[in-house]
Subunit: 428 residues, 2 copies
């Protein structure tokens, strides 16, 4: 250990600027707590002349993040550019090859390339830390890998995309349709450059893949996640859910059973009075269940300059203190590859359909459900509005396969005016 | 680092037995995660013949915990006997002097002797870890000292005594008086041998002293805490609070301001719809606020065999992994001694009084409050029941000093039938 821990920061957007601010504002505190000075040697971003509201003149500028990652005066490479591949991955690999530890907030890169990168880190005797990549300011990676290290983790759940939660809660509180709130969120700068990453559930899926990996000791398996976005949720769904005592959340659930690893990231109905149901706006919540600890719930800001930078700097402090947990909490060679076992656990489902106005339409739907072994708990039909009548069904517990089979059968009839929406009901 | 980390466990009660169970049940998992085998060399308790429901024959028995702490085949001394002084402290000191790290769940010992013990640990080049001592299974020590290490902590709050929370929520749900529920709790084994530790707020106060110390970098200052127990809370108080949209919780609040360190552990009225207000039974909740992260809320089981042992073993895993944070998160020499500045922050108060049935009694109370500069927001008087009429007052924001002054003045009149109850209203 040298007395000073020297950072190279690539990416000076929301998070990067937040990190620079903490390094400056809390220099004394960081030194007191970690026993070392933490400094910045050099920074990198695309645009060298942009005013970022902070004075960068004390740091060398590197146009190329790879060159930054390789500098002799950098001990820790801090990757805050984003992107699954491209400069983020190139620079991360260069940093590891040059013997530097890496701190990143990049869930996309780690969810896809996590295993390979962890392997590279391990053979170089380095670590990759990524506290900020999951649930922003909430120290959930540390909680799972260290705070609950003595537990066999049995389930992790979370609302981990603030933008989706903002959209869903705002639709409910303002009584606005999805499209309107989506526009609002865009105007507020809440959406990623590619908004399907948020509303399509991809971003939250990346986070779930990382959470599963550290929780269950499995290789991150983003492709094994059953992902559904919130794009098809209507204000009517939200109202119906509320009527039944539920709220709709984009909920991630991961569970390792004898059958394999179940990972879902989907809009679900959760009890309105549950902690997850009560979550408002951009706040995130993660629930971790372990054999000894029972259940731990963590709540906090899932994004934003300060909270995300707090998590990045927690990783930096760990490194300054000599804390070097393997990237996914245990050596890469010990990570298991579990078969994907999505949707084998039964649950009641909420089904919304638009039926064409034909006699016998509803009977046809009911008999198709019955043929797939799905029984109806509650049903509600809305008069005979034109051109199609909305029908809402709550099923008894079923698994996804017969439900999908029934939906396919419905779609091959002539009674549906649109593709049905099916939402799992999670009675947490 | 030897390949194996060898424990000596003193205390085989609720927590000790839980720890032995985890070491056995999760041996493979612990080795995978920490890279080392974790074993038990020897154990100690008072009664060598008691059936503890686990097989202890594989471990050496030491009648004397001090001898256990000094054994050559012990790397980490695990203190789970409890008690501020006596064998717990003697054995902890012996362990440090013999060059062993210490893991303990003992908040009483650390709240009182924490500074001295941390100093002894530091000069021996050892650490004392105490995750289980605050909020049981919730990894709050790790969250504050590591997960939020880059934050200036601005406030910590918590409901951290499950027994008190059980009593208060049970009084409300069952409509039972304090005495009845206290008996129930006793029958259920929820109470400490000396129950005033629980219901008097002492146990929760010990936890708050530790939380303040790590949050603010101050010397643990148990004596500086304004402590009030829940013994005087009546079912009527709970009902009145509910009427106004509040619930009564034994809430700890610590805050470091320019004036000094404010630490309170008192029954308070908190909004019924807030996360703290909704906390049921033995569950604990800790709220941590920092300059960058804003607010993090942690919820989980505050006691019990499994959860507490989970926290003890998290500390053991840290040590196995070579994580060695100073006892209070930073070197003892850098801990500040802040003046105690309790109750300087104003809040509305709930006041319950019993007035003797005399004309002008209420006017006298109102004028005393007015003379102390306290204005009344709401008041409610209950007919003229015999021998005294209950009167409830909600004040506008005031600090504690004028309130105490007013209460003293009231008591020197002849209109009070009993000492008034004053509860702070925390609009979180
Ligand atoms: N924002 C959040 O609240 C949040 C929360 C958790 C995790 N994260 C993650 O944190 C990372 C950064 O997010 P952000 O919100 O800070 O992004 P951002 O505001 O878009 O900033 C990205 C930064 O990277 C720089 N950059 C992009 N390509 C580059 C290249 N080829 N070479 C050098 N610099 C390059 C950009 O430079 P210019 O400024 O010159 O364009 C910009 O400074 C992402 O992985 C994101 O998923 C963000
Ligand atoms: N219980 C919880 O949920 C919880 C939660 C958080 C923290 N804690 C803390 O954890 C510690 C242990 O609590 P616990 O609930 O496990 O207590 P407990 O059930 O009363 O067990 C105490 C153990 O210490 C042993 N002991 C007492 N004096 C001793 C002596 N002089 N020499 C050797 N052994 C001695 C006892 O021996 P015998 O069995 O032979 O009498 C017993 O095994 C305390 O500091 C407590 O505050 C407990």
């Amino acid at each position: 250990m040298t007395a000073t821990l020297r950072l190279g920061i690539a990416g000076l957007g929301t998070v990067g600027v937040g990190v620079v601010k903490i390094v400056r504002k809390q220099a004394a505190l960081l030194a007191q707590r970690t026993g070392r000075d933490i400094t910045i040697s050099a920074v990198s971003a695309r645009n060298a002349t942009k005013d970022r509201g902070i004075n960068l003149s004390g740091y060398d500028w590197e146009a190329d993040p790879v060159a930054l990652a390789q500098r002799d005066d950098v001990d820790v490479f801090v990757e805050l550019m984003g992107g699954t591949d491209g400069p983020a991955k190139d620079a991360t690999e260069a940093a590891l090859a040059a013997g530097k530890d890496v701190v990143t907030a990049n869930k996309a890169m780690l969810a896809i390339h996590g295993r390979d990168l962890a392997e590279q880190a391990e053979s170089a005797g380095r670590v990759i830390r990524f506290e900020a990549a999951v649930a922003g300011g909430i120290p959930v990676i540390k909680t799972v890998t260290e705070g609950l290290a003595a537990n066999e983790i049995t389930r992790v759940m979370g609302v981990m995309n603030g933008t989706c939660n903002y959209i869903l809660t705002r639709m409910e509180s303002a009584g606005l349709p999805y499209e309107k709130v989506f526009e609002e969120a865009d105007d507020l700068g809440y959406l990623e450059a590619d908004p399907t990453l948020d509303v399509g559930g991809i971003d939250a899926g990346h986070k779930l893949a990382l959470l599963s990996a550290i929780g269950f000791g499995t290789v991150p398996d983003f492709d094994g996640i059953e992902i559904e976005g919130i794009e098809r949720i209507t204000i009517e769904d939200i109202r119906q859910a509320a009527d039944m005592g539920y709220r709709i959340k984009l909920l991630g659930v991961a569970q390792l059973t004898g059958r394999g690893l179940e990972q879902r990231m989907q809009p679900c109905l959760v009890p309105a009075s549950s902690p997850l149901g009560q979550l408002e706006g951009g706040t995130n919540m993660v629930v971790i269940e372990g054999d000894s600890v029972q259940q731990i719930v963590l709540r906090g800001p899932g994004a934003g300059e300060g909270p995300t930078a707090s998590a990045v700097m927690a990783d930096v402090c760990d490194l300054a203190r000599g804390i070097r947990i393997p990237t996914f909490g245990q050596p890469v060679s010990t990570l298991r590859t579990a078969p994907s076992a999505s949707s084998v656990l039964p649950a009641p489902y909420y089904l919304r359909m638009a039926l064409v106005d034909k006699p016998g339409a509803l009977a046809k739907i009911a008999s198709i459900l019955g043929a797939s072994g799905i029984s109806i708990d509650r049903m509600r039909q809305y008069g005979h509005s034109e051109p199609a009548a909305p029908v809402l069904i709550v099923t008894h517990r079923t698994t996804r396969a017969p439900l999908d089979e029934a939906i396919a059968a419905m779609q091959s009839t002539d009674v549906l005016a649109a593709t049905p929406v099916a939402l799992r009901i999670e009675n947490l």
